[in-house]
């Protein structure tokens, strides 16, 4: 079975400071990893993915994530947070042999204060 853990329910940072949202996963074989963001009353928006290749992946809105196989982690980062980054962030994983089925974490609420 595949699963995702997001250990922090909430992350609070000041605007301009670095932002990190943590994610660890469990899956058989090589993982496909994703980050999505959800704004109030909106669906999930794709931010970035790791499929293969470079462990550091860059995505939308200045976000990046680092794949660490030994620690089974895929933390989301942004060097300088904006107030507009305040939202709910979900990490998701699927296994190589699965029929594209994603398993999501419970989500982390990010609040960036001005």
């Amino acid at each position: 079975a595949q699963s995702v853990a997001q250990p922090e329910d909430q992350v609070n940072v000041a605007e301009g400071n670095p932002l990190t949202v943590k994610c660890t996963y469990s899956v058989s074989g090589n993982p496909y990893l994703f980050w999505y963001v959800q704004y109030p009353n909106r669906g999930l928006q794709f931010l970035l993915k790791y499929i293969t290749g470079d462990n550091l992946v860059k995505g939308s809105y200045g976000f990046e994530a680092e794949f660490n196989k030994s620690q089974t982690s895929f933390h989301l980062k942004k060097p300088s947070a904006l107030v507009s980054d305040s939202a709910l962030y979900f990490c998701a994983v699927r296994g190589f042999s699965n029929d594209y089925k994603l398993s999501f974490g419970a989500g982390t609420t990010v609040t960036v204060r001005a």
Binding site: L44, D99, F104, G105
Partner: protein, 117 residues
């Protein structure tokens, strides 16, 4: 390109009533998913279609939930009869299989917020 469309956006019903949600995926996307997102939790897959065939419905409560995807395009999710614990946001998503050269991510609609009273 147009995104995933869902309707209605909001629905309030009483328990034991029935309700239906509609989804129109991104044009050309063969795979369609229905998720249930309960407040404070991540989305949970209810059912996955590949064209008009069901790939995975292992987490669909089949005694009350049903879904169909006629002609491999639009899809409808129905709940009959509804229970209080069905209050959630129902998300529809679509994707293209990687075998077509497309990427792996799923694209989500805005969701339908269901409140059962």
């Amino acid at each position: 390109e147009a995104g995933v469309a869902q309707s209605p956006r909001y629905k309030i019903i009483e328990k034991r009533q029935s309700v239906a949600f509609w989804c129109n995926p991104i044009s050309g996307h063969a795979t369609l998913y229905w998720y249930q997102q309960i407040l404070g939790q991540g989305p949970k897959l209810l059912i996955q279609f590949q064209n008009n065939g069901v790939v995975d419905d292992s987490q669909l409560p089949k005694d009350r939930f049903s879904a169909e995807r006629l002609k491999g395009v639009d899809s409808t999710l129905k709940i009959q009869p509804a229970k209080l614990e069905d209050s959630a946001v129902y998300l529809c998503a679509s994707s293209s299989p990687p075998s077509t050269g497309a990427s792996y991510e799923q694209y989500f609609g805005p969701g339908t917020r269901l409140t059962v009273t």
